[in-house]
């Protein structure tokens, strides 16, 4: 498949010209119409199938040929292989207008199966689905001719239900339900007879088939199920397997009151849990209507499967089947109990026993999910307390099995299906969110979109801060899980004498050489334990994890950690958008402080840090917009942040956005407490910073700050000055020096022409604006109601526009005024 030959052939098939295809088709037609439809015909049909399948847009084959294919399909004189290929080609071409096929009067079940597969692919424009459904049920009702088997058409029925469950009328549903009862409950318990080979020496009486066996080799103790083994199977045993395979779908559609589709919300069935007035004991069950009888037999079948799953399978594949059967049985029992709550009591006791049997066995962990779902759905009906089940599920399973991708996926689906459980803050479900994030940390690509759906349910005022820290530390969690997994794979202490590394791990004075050693090192142990906790535990001093973060930096290039790091920005954005909806002012303040604080304490990979800064800086603005007064309330911390030039170097996006926010929201119109002194304090801090980054020291090189930093600082200083007009002369003086700055040789070597021009232009515009202080005040601090017009809201457009207009006015631009 990887070879050039395959690529070449595919290309050929796609690009074959119409003419050549037409000739080929005629050749195939001739072969089919001739007597000998042998190996050459098969080969040609395979090629034709490739041509039809390989093109994205359907090829139209000659109408006569399409008719011929249908004729060949229905004619018994052609070998099966040819018929299968004709059917495959017709399906590939679907929907097809030239179809004359019909399933009416088709007796042969194999043919009916082939024809149905084509008809069901037509998009149901001419009620094909209904026609197929009618025919199949008719055949199932009737007597089977010799050599035929229902096995070929039962799956067709299953398909029909998926497409259009309304295709079956009630009598037909009853007919099939009755048959399913027979197949499920009364299949033979003797093994089938092998097909006689028909040779001279064969003796049909030679081998008597014995009884079927269980998966552990014991003789079967009860009726036949999918977990019964035989060398050869009888027809009714095959039907038993197929009937069970479609049982869930059938019950979902037809088992409740009225009709449902298999994919409709199961909760709609809750209303149908009328206690059945008819006795459901086995002795009188033959008096039950077909639907209820099937329910009873399905119940017995599932109970038997649960018992059979307790046996120790001799073959591995049978062991896998046992687990799948267990999951299916529990799910079907859940459906049955929803449809008839009189089954709840009988089911509950056996499922409780089942739970205690498998809860300690990780091999059966996936079955714990449908079990928990059952208890969630029905414990209340039975007034039974199942908290222990949920606690075990949410505290033990994620911690032990986060690395199992299928379990991880199903677990998160379970959480999403039961999202209403997470709304209660004190519940075990909500409290175990640190455990849930382990699934995401390990299996990021497949679970990120599921977590995008789940995160809003986990977030509230009580959990927001802890989840914020958790998201920022998600790659650390991945690294820690990796180490945890490695240590659990290592052989446990073999001898009494500790190895050198184990000794080092115990000695607090010795620094651990590797992450594995650190896992058991007393200094790091508690940090690991916190990171790998199973329940929510708000941490007062997040800087406690700094040494661990640094240590785990050695795993930063591991693919799993990298993938996890890529998901964090997405989740952070979502986090803020959800939190913005419910956060009160104290929480907003806390988050802003944490953003500034954590910006120094991030996992050390440059791509990760850049992405996180990008998200945090834009979200910082959102928070400021929600609660502009925070600038005043947190002025001390903000001043500290602004004073450090390192912050510009390392976290430019964060810094510039913060400065911009100050310029925008630090005004008495947003908070009465914003006094002139406040404004002056911020002014001085920003002025000092701008001074430091623009001062020209002889023989020293200018560090390369982005021009945007300089322009934003200048603009913000101007804005502040417009609100505290004593500052205007200082700003004007500073701005007037920018020309010198921009033209100095040190700067020309570092910034390009466009950037220098931009800085100079902005400085000039700002200076011009300050020459008209009242205009400046209006432009920079519009009254709050004016600020909500569309023009003002577009921050990117309105300010530069205003500046340009004012500049033009001041320069007395000729031709500026019309006329």
């Amino acid at each position: 498949m990887f070879t050039a030959a395959a690529e070449g052939l595919l290309k050929q098939a796609r690009e074959i010209p119409e003419e050549e295809l037409g000739r080929f088709v005629s050749h195939v037609a001739a072969l089919l119409q001739g007597r000998d439809a042998g190996a050459e015909a098969v080969d040609c049909l395979q090629r034709l199938h490739l041509v039809v399948a390989a093109t994205k847009y359907p090829r139209t084959l000659d109408g006569k040929f399409v008719e011929l294919l249908q004729t060949v399909l229905c004619s018994p004189k052609y070998p099966e292989q040819v018929q299968v290929l004709c059917a495959a080609i017709l399906r590939e071409m679907s929907p097809c207008n030239e179809l004359i096929l019909s399933c009416d009067d088709v007796q042969d079940t194999k043919l009916l199966s082939l024809i149905s597969s084509i008809l069901l692919a037509q998009g149901d424009k001419k009620a094909e689905v209904s026609a197929v459904a009618q025919r199949v049920v008719k055949v199932l009702e009737g007597r089977l001719p010799e050599g035929q088997s229902f096995r070929h058409i039962l799956p067709v029925l299953s398909n029909v239900i998926s497409i259009s469950p309304v295709s079956l009328a009630e009598e037909q549903i009853n007919v099939v339900s009755k048959k399913m009862v027979d197949w499920l409950r009364y299949a033979s318990t003797q093994q089938g007879v092998p097909q006689p080979s028909g040779g001279f020496f064969s003796n049909p009486r030679a081998r008597q088939p014995g009884p079927v066996t269980e998966v552990d080799g014991a003789i079967a103790t009860d009726f036949f199920t999918v977990l019964s083994l035989a060398q050869h199977y009888t027809e009714d045993q095959w039907l038993n397997m197929q009937a069970f395979s479609m049982l869930r779908k059938w019950l979902l559609c037809y088992g409740g009151e009225g009709l449902s589709t298999p994919n409709s919300d199961d909760r709609s069935e809750m209303d149908g849990s009328v206690i059945s007035m008819v006795s459901t004991t086995s002795t009188s069950s033959h008096l039950l209507p077909p639907k209820e009888r099937l329910r009873e037999k399905a119940f017995e079948y599932c109970q038997r499967l649960i018992e059979q799953s307790n046996r120790r399978a001799l073959k591995k594949a049978d062991g896998e089947l046992q687990k799948a059967c267990l999951i299916e049985a529990v799910t079907i029992l859940d459906i049955i109990c929803k449809q008839d709550s009189s089954y709840v009591y009988r089911t509950l006791s056996s499922l409780k026993i089942l739970h205690s049997r498998i809860s300690g066995d990780v091999a059966f962990a996936r079955a714990l999910l449908p079990l928990a779902q059952f208890f969630l759905n029905h414990s209340e009906t039975a007034a039974v307390d199942s908290d222990a089940v949920y606690k075990h599920l949410f505290t033990e399973i994620p911690a032990q099995l986060f690395h199992n991708p299928s379990l991880a996926f199903e677990f998160i689906q379970f959480c999403k299906d039961n999202s209403q459980l997470f709304t209660d803050t004190s519940s075990i479900f909500r409290q175990s969110f640190p455990n849930l994030f382990k699934f995401l940390a390990w299996n990021s690509p497949s679970l990120i979109s599921e977590f995008v759906d789940l995160l809003p349910f986990l977030l509230d005022a009580g959990t927001a801060i802890e989840i914020f820290h958790l998201l920022l530390d998600l790659p650390c969690l991945t690294a820690a899980l990796d180490i945890q997994l490695s240590t659990s794979c290592m052989p446990s202490a073999r001898s009494t004498s500790l190895s050198a590394s184990e000794k080092a791990a115990c000695d607090p004075a010795v620094k651990p050489a590797t992450c594995l050693e650190a896992f058991r090192h007393p200094l790091y142990k508690s940090m690991f334990q916190y990171l790998l906790r199973v329940e929510a535990a708000p941490e007062d001093s997040p800087e406690r994890l700094i040494p661990l973060r640094q240590l785990l930096g050695s795993l930063a290039s591991s693919p799993r950690v990298v993938q996890c790091a890529e998901t964090v920005p997405v989740l952070l954005e979502l986090f803020f958008s959800v939190v913005a909806e419910f956060a009160d002012k104290p929480l907003i303040n806390q988050l802003v402080l944490l953003v500034l604080q954590r910006s120094d304490q991030l996992y050390e990979t440059s791509a990760f840090k850049d992405d996180v800064y990008r998200v945090l800086s834009s979200q910082l603005l959102t928070l400021c917009k929600l609660h502009p007064a925070l600038l005043v309330e947190l002025s001390k911390e903000l001043l500290e942040f602004l004073a450090s030039v390192n912050n510009i170097r390392n976290k430019e996006a964060l810094f510039t956005h913060m400065v911009w926010a100050i310029g925008e929201y630090m005004s008495v119109s947003y908070d009465k407490r914003c006094t002139v002194e406040q404004i002056n304090r911020f002014f001085e801090a920003l002025e000092a910073t701008l001074f430091e980054i623009t001062q020209l020291r002889p023989l020293a090189s200018i560090p390369n700050y982005a021009p945007r930093v300089i322009t934003v600082l200048m603009t913000t200083l101007t804005k502040l000055a417009s609100r505290s007009q004593d500052l205007i002369p200082r700003v004007s003086l500073f701005l007037s020096k920018m020309r010198m700055f921009v033209q100095s040789p040190a700067v020309t070597s570092v910034y390009c022409e466009e950037d220098r021009e931009e800085i100079l232009n902005r400085a000039t515009e700002l200076m011009n604006l300050l020459k008209m202080p009242s205009v400046a005040q209006f432009v920079f601090t519009p009254p709050v109601d004016v600020a909500t017009t569309a023009f003002q809201r577009d921050a990117n457009e309105s300010l530069p526009f205003a500046l340009r207009i004012v500049s033009r006015l001041l320069e007395g631009g000729a031709g500026f005024m019309p006329g």
Binding site: M1, A6, E7, L9, L10, A39, V42, D43, Q46, R47, L50, A53, A54, E80, Q81, V84, L85, A88, R91, S113, S117, A121, Q122, D124, P155, V156, S158, N159, S162, I163, V226, L229, Q231, Y233, M241, Q242, S245, R248, P262, N263, A317, D318, L321, A324, C325, E328, R366, P405, S406, E410, Q413, S444, P445, S446, I448, S449, E450, V452, E566, T567
Partner: protein, 177 residues
């Protein structure tokens, strides 16, 4: 409807096996294991298709390929992308080939995984997927027959090892070309 669609994808060829659903006929999309999401830059699955392709053709293994340790997983497709209803995809990677099985929401995923593994093992043999040359593309009949046995009309079957082997024995011995 045929659950089999021979697909060729940009990165590396992948054999998409769509089964067990058929709301409308729609060619299964070339599933290369991409996680769907909020439309932002979503990280890509460590998809077998494309990543592990080595320049030299792989040696044909002497023993049957063991798929127990083959990477695989599950992910969800949202309604409309590309199927009309929600779907779950079970995938399996064997060397540089990707196999995918598209499941409806109510189907048994553990069963789907073991069915896919069984199918992949048989398809590797019947279609000679790991061999040189383009034979695999011209064995649609074999693929159809296999799928009809193990995944008839897209229906997942609860089959033990004995039952699966009994099915194999029943298949009429076709003369291998």
């Amino acid at each position: 409807m045929s659950p089999l669609c021979l697909l060729h994808d940009v990165g590396a060829p992948s054999l998409g096996v769509g089964g067990s659903w058929c709301k409308h006929w729609a060619p299964p999309s070339p599933v290369q294991g991409r996680a769907e999401g909020s439309g932002r830059n979503m990280p890509r699955l460590p998809a077998a298709a494309g990543r592990a392709a080595s320049p030299a053709p792989p040696q044909l293994p002497d023993e049957p390929v063991s798929l127990q340790a083959a990477p695989g997983g599950l992910f969800r497709l949202r309604p409309g992308d590309p199927f009309s209803g929600p779907a779950t995809v079970v995938w399996l990677a064997v060397l540089a080939l990707g196999f995918a099985l598209v499941c409806e929401p109510h189907e048994n995923l553990l069963l789907a995984e073991s069915t896919l593994r069984r199918l992949a093992r048989r398809l590797l043999g019947a279609l000679r997927l790991l061999g040189p040359g383009a034979e695999a593309l011209l064995r649609a009949g074999h693929a159809e027959a296999l799928l009809d046995r193990l995944l008839p009309h897209g229906q997942l079957l609860f089959l033990g090892e004995a039952a699966a082997q009994a099915l194999e024995r029943e298949a009429p011995a076709k003369a291998l070309r």
